[in-house]
Symmetry: C2
Subunit: 251 residues, 2 copies
């Protein structure tokens, strides 16, 4: 397939590389910032463009992979009445693309610019407004990943919210741990094996069934000691209290 990437961020970068590795042809990379387009285009042996008017009209698939609030405005400027246009966003309804032949291609992973991602285990959620394009997207997704799933926009957003809790918020809790350790001149490395084991457990078990810690034990004495230790950081006390209460509620 001839594919055009609109966007040059982390998702566009990793998705572009994965598509190229799968043998697809990325013909153009668009970014309003020419240098950004050029950086990614170089990696993908594609042409860099910084103006929508320079967009080729003969591609098979147009992938909009930009910040959520920019998707609609880019889509509005495309004049590709019958071409398949998709976005890669978890929380944006498909229909903001406002064209005849549209879809979604949402890879659920946390991406960085540097680290190349093995897509094989990355779930890809697809959606389209017509069965032919859904087939096209399904075939493409299956070239990259063994976990392709058809989700509607509501399901996809739920998946995204779940990912925010499991990934973004967890990472923030790791950052709070880092902050606490640093306050006592302790190395973050001390806690890395625990993080690895916590994630490993979640690969084997349902997390609700393997909860540990003072809250699930209703160990009020330890909870109070911990709140005392956090007394100069009321904001962390609040998080500690809320999550401990939530553990008890979900029990």
């Amino acid at each position: 397939m001839k594919i055009i990437l609109l966007g040059s961020g982390r998702v566009a970068t990793q998705l572009g590389l994965a598509l190229q590795n799968a043998g697809e042809e990325i013909v153009q990379v668009y970014s309003p910032t020419q240098a950004h387009a050029a950086d990614l285009a170089k990696k993908l042996n594609a042409a860099a463009i910084s103006s929508i008017s320079a967009l080729r009209k003969d591609a098979d698939l147009y992938i909009i992979s930009v910040k959520d609030d920019a998707i609609a405005s880019i889509a509005k400027n495309l004049d590709l009445p019958n071409k398949l246009i998709v976005h890669t966003s978890g929380s944006t309804p498909m229909d903001v693309l406002a064209s005849a032949n549209i879809g979604v291609f949402y890879p659920l992973q946390t991406f960085s610019f540097e680290k190349e991602v093995d897509f094989k285990d990355v779930p890809i959620a697809i959606e389209s407004n017509n069965p032919e394009s859904l087939n096209v997207l399904s075939g493409l997704a299956q070239q990259l990943s063994s976990r392709v799933i058809k989700l509607d926009s509501k399901q996809r957003m739920t998946l995204h919210v779940a990912a925010v809790f499991a990934c973004n918020f967890s990472n923030h809790l790791f950052a709070i741990a880092q902050h606490l350790l640093e306050s006592q001149q302790l190395d973050f490395d001390l806690i890395r094996p625990l993080i690895a084991e916590t994630a490993a457990k979640a690969q084997q078990h349902l997390p609700a069934t393997v909860q540990t810690g003072p809250a699930i034990r209703k160990d009020e004495i330890t909870l109070q000691k911990h709140l005392d230790l956090l007394k100069n950081e009321p904001h962390l006390q609040e998080i500690y209290r809320l999550l401990s209460q939530s553990i008890v509620n979900l029990r």
Copy 2:
């Protein structure tokens, strides 16, 4: 060394197995519930006792590994004036042991009964009220683990609080993700690769430097969409709001 374990819970079980594997001799296992003592004693080729009065007085080390609020009362009943007595708790000061020769042996990991733990990478925090016993504990800890660290009670409690954030609370966020996915008949398996990658990133980077997601991007539109999706679960909305705000604050 001849070691007596007081306790038969998850930490006592995994620590006992690790000490046995390292060639130490567990001579007795105490639990007020004879069946619990017997279960663990059998695994460790030790004698099971359910009365403190049956405790042998010729061991080299007495390890109290019970619920935090039971440590002091067990220690009070021991009549071992010069013997080294330690507990394994993160959040309990050493001095609750109230004896002449005391210490702490705190392995930082999340333990279960079934899964045997490789202690090699498990940090072990040690403390004692005298240098000779600190040496004994250091030598013993180094037989099990390559990460032995001397911490005072305040540092150890900070490490424990950091562990609650990084491990117990993260697991709870995974459980919330599980709950959200189930509400849309989606499989938890969808999010497992993301959890694995999030933990893998924390092995390589400091988490504060690799934060992703709508909060750190200040993507207000997505944040609002997510809060709307959670509108029937005000408790989850509250967690979402608080952690998103905390991400912005720590930035």
